[in-house]
């Protein structure tokens, strides 16, 4: 999952759980059955978990562009010289 996908997954999870909670409550209250409310909500939790937990492709629509391997070789990492060991003067 990419970052946008993670945000989408979290939002979907929260909205779906609250929605199923409300639907379950209204259904149970209208039918006068506490058990119905619990079953509807439990089904909602299962559906929500199936949609938001696994790493589906639609969560990966904004993939990160990692640097290509050939580019990495053209720009070698800086060497760790003696000048950088005095950290008191320099701020990151």
């Amino acid at each position: 999952m990419d970052w946008q996908g993670q945000k989408l997954s979290e939002q979907l999870m929260q909205i779906m759980l609250v929605a199923f909670g409300i639907i379950g409550f209204i259904t149970g209250y209208a039918l006068g059955s506490f058990q119905t409310m619990l079953y509807v909500y439990a089904a909602g939790v299962v559906i929500t978990s199936l949609i938001t937990i696994p790493d589906w492709p639609f969560f990966n629509r904004h993939p990160l562009n990692w640097l290509d391997a050939s580019e990495v070789e053209k720009h070698p990492k800086p060497q760790n010289t003696n000048a950088t060991s005095k950290k008191k003067a320099s701020k990151k």
């Binding site: 997954s9 759980l17 149970g28 209250y29 506490f34 938001t52 937990i53």
Partner: protein, 167 residues
């Protein structure tokens, strides 16, 4: 959101929070119910009325208790606990309550009932004050919910009197 386990944990805890809110709303919905229970009690017979060797009075009654408690049940009611208490005043105590009979009503179908019974528990006074005593028979009930707040109420039935002499 970084891994399967993270998302699963977040979903689980949030779903339980939402469930707690739903149960709170269910409990609040009980307040919209305005019950109208009725009941009636008759003392059919005073079986015996004695002074025990330790000095306390004891009386045994046969009662006929009938009631209609159906309006107390809501979708959020697990059961109703009902008991009948004899209430009277003595010089020593401003209020004496002696439970004579109790029962559990598991659902609305059983909430209309008429019981013909001996007193289930012993009616013993603290002392020897029961001769000629006027007492009330009060039907108390506790409505126990499936989730949330329990409520209790009662109906007071007055006009009962014990005999003046022991039998």
């Amino acid at each position: 959101m970084h891994s399967f386990a993270y998302r699963a944990n977040a979903l689980l805890t949030f779903s339980l929070t939402v469930l707690a809110l739903m149960c709170a709303m269910a409990s609040v919905s009980d307040n919209f119910n305005s019950p109208s229970p009725t009941s009636q009690v008759q003392v059919l017979n005073i079986n015996w009325f004695q002074k025990k060797p330790d000095g306390d009075d004891e009386v045994s009654l046969t009662l006929n208790v009938s009631a209609n408690l159906q309006s107390l049940f809501t979708w959020n009611t697990k059961q109703v606990f009902v008991f009948l208490a004899a209430e009277y005043e003595t010089p020593k105590n401003a209020l004496n309550q002696v439970s004579l009979w109790d029962g559990i009503i598991p659902s609305k179908e059983y909430a209309v009932f008429g019981i013909h019974t001996n007193s289930k528990y012993r009616f013993i006074d603290q002392g020897s004050n029961l001769r000629g005593k006027d007492f009330n028979l009060t039907l108390h009930w506790h409505v126990m919910p499936k989730t949330g707040k329990m409520s209790a109420d009662k109906i007071v039935m007055t006009g009962f009197k014990l005999p003046d002499v022991y039998r």
